[in-house]
């Protein structure tokens, strides 16, 4: 009986936390600051969560593209259709790996940092003191970070895909000798702009939003102690990863499910 009650309480806790995060989101998006104030803040966040994530994205994209090139070549050359390697690499990256891996890397690199930063601001009462100065931390601290993540992730995902395709071309065309014309030709005839590229961008927009939302919410809602911050950071990475993978399935089913 006790276990049942505990289980019910857990369920209620989860629902309450979901409700809090929704209200939190409404608070962040509801208030619009003056552009002259908001823009420099946004810029700073774009720098620290977007530009500074570029290195890890480029390096990972390059390696993933090269691995795709190698694996694709070995499999496709069995059927004598190694020219389809371009199409395979491009579709995998643009549809799936670009948005998904970028979001996972982003959650680990920038999301955890956001959570820790905001959590520490809460623990050291910086958020409280801001409130007491008549400045809403949701607008001043949280909103620029949320928007920056929302803007940065699609850009990072596009960069990831491009670098990956370039890496795949490096392996496939330069090293393994696939004919360059058929590499690009195959790719262009099979990748459709609306179905593949745009859907990939939509995915990365959704992932960017969800990852940053989870990160800033976990920071804002953390228990203000060092243990609280560390568990919030862990939660950010775990929840973001699960949310990205789960949402990816749902989005893929919706976008590509009809054929």
């Amino acid at each position: 009986m006790d276990k049942l009650a505990a289980f019910g309480r857990l369920g209620l806790d989860i629902i309450a936390s979901l409700g809090r995060s929704g209200r939190f989101l409404a608070g962040v998006l509801g208030g619009v600051s003056k552009p002259s104030v908001a823009f420099p803040l946004l810029l700073k966040q774009l720098y620290s969560i977007g530009v500074l994530s570029l290195a890890i994205i480029v390096v990972s994209g390059l390696f993933i593209g090269m691995v795709l090139g190698l694996q694709g070549y070995t499999i496709l050359s069995d059927y004598g259709s190694e020219a389809a390697i371009g199409q395979m690499i491009a579709l995998t990256l643009v549809r799936e790996l670009g948005p998904v891996v970028t979001a996972l890397l982003f959650a680990g690199r920038a999301g955890s940092a956001l959570t820790a930063e905001i959590g520490l601001m809460k623990t050291t009462e910086q958020l409280s003191s801001m409130e007491m100065m008549g400045v809403d931390p949701l607008r001043r601290v949280i909103a620029p970070r949320l928007w920056a993540g929302f803007i940065a992730v699609p850009i990072l995902a596009a960069v990831f895909s491009v670098v990956g395709i370039w890496g795949g071309m490096l392996v496939g065309v330069e090293w393994l000798g696939v004919f360059e014309g058929s590499f690009w030709g195959n790719m262009q005839s099979s990748v459709s702009f609306t179905n593949d590229v745009l859907n990939g961008v939509i995915k990365s927009v959704v992932f960017g939003f969800v990852c940053t939302w989870i990160a800033v919410y976990q920071g804002y809602d953390c228990v203000p102690t060092s243990a609280g911050i560390s568990s919030a950071t862990t939660k950010t990475v775990v929840y973001s990863s699960l949310a990205v993978l789960g949402l990816d399935f749902v989005l893929t089913a919706v976008m590509f499910g009809d054929f």
Partner: protein, 295 residues
């Protein structure tokens, strides 16, 4: 960067307005009124029906043993916590009932010095003090600079303006935070332990500063402090919180001559008396596992 320079209009915010100066002389209604405030954390009632008036334009000291809820009281006044019942009126507005926007507008008139200082760690000392000015006014940069340096001078840290908060000592942090909380010249300042960690000279400077702020600009000041002697020397009015109640209040003279045993114990710091030094706990014998054994 600051396109809307409306010099005189904005300047009114940082210089005392005539209205406020007049007000101190004529308006005698309390600035803050607490009525039957009940506030509980979990099962523990921190305040159990507290009523308190904080007079306008005066320095009020709030004293009491550690952990009795002095900081909590300040947070209730600032609207960061809501009481379970009772009303809290600040400048004629019922704080717990205020809508978000009105609450933030009211807070612009308040300054609060946090117990931990709560400086923004990513901004320098200068920028910390400039923060409220930049957010709430559109003063030109050189005027902001002058005001910030003036405030830092008042707390003796003009030379430290380029330092980052991580490079400050605890006492310096507190003084920078104080400079920041008075940057906008608020109507109400709440100091949470302004003297903790200060050497005697800094303490003397702070006492003078608090007194000057009050007398020259007619600020209403609420000061939480454990330093009985210093607090009683500058406040106009003091109250002592313990056990979720106000156990004594009045002018410093009244407090010193208070008949209550609890108040006297607190003022003189006797370890034994009606005020419990210990946080409520189970019977000591139980915790050490010696129940049922005779000693």
């Amino acid at each position: 960067m600051y396109p809307h320079i409306e010099g005189c209009n904005q300047f009114a915010r940082v210089a005392p307005t005539p209205r406020r100066l007049l007000g101190t002389g004529m308006d005698t209604s309390p600035y803050i009124e607490l009525r039957d405030v009940v506030f509980a954390r979990g099962d523990r009632r921190i305040f159990d029906g507290v009523s308190l008036d904080i007079p306008r334009g005066k320095i009020t000291a709030i004293m009491g043993p550690s952990g009795t809820g002095k900081t909590t009281l300040l947070r209730l006044i600032g609207g960061q916590l809501r009481p379970d019942s009772g009303t809290i009126t600040v400048a004629g507005e019922n704080v717990p009932r205020l809508k978000r926007k009105a609450l933030y507008r009211l807070r612009e008139k308040m300054g609060m010095l946090f117990q931990s200082g709560a400086l923004f760690t990513d901004l320098s000392v200068f920028e910390n003090v400039a923060f409220p000015l930049r957010v709430h006014t559109s003063l030109p940069e050189d005027m902001i600079r002058d005001i910030v340096l003036m405030k830092l001078e008042a707390v003796g840290l003009r030379g430290a303006r380029e330092l980052m908060p991580a490079e400050l000592s605890g006492g310096m942090t507190r003084r920078v935070a104080l400079a920041r909380s008075i940057a906008l010249d608020p109507e109400l300042i709440m100091y949470d332990e302004p003297f903790a960690g200060q050497d005697p000279i800094a303490m003397g400077v702070l006492i003078k500063l608090i007194r000057d702020l009050n007398s020259s600009m007619g600020l209403t000041s609420v000061m939480v402090s454990h330093d009985v002697k210093e607090s009683l020397s500058i406040c106009h009015y003091a109250c002592i919180v313990a056990d979720g109640q106000i156990i004594g209040d009045g002018t410093p003279e009244e407090i010193k001559a208070h008949p209550s045993e609890q108040v006297q114990q607190f003022l003189h710091g006797h370890p034994d008396g009606p005020v419990p030094f210990h946080y409520p706990a189970a019977d000591a014998g139980q915790d050490w596992g010696i129940t049922g054994r005779s000693r």
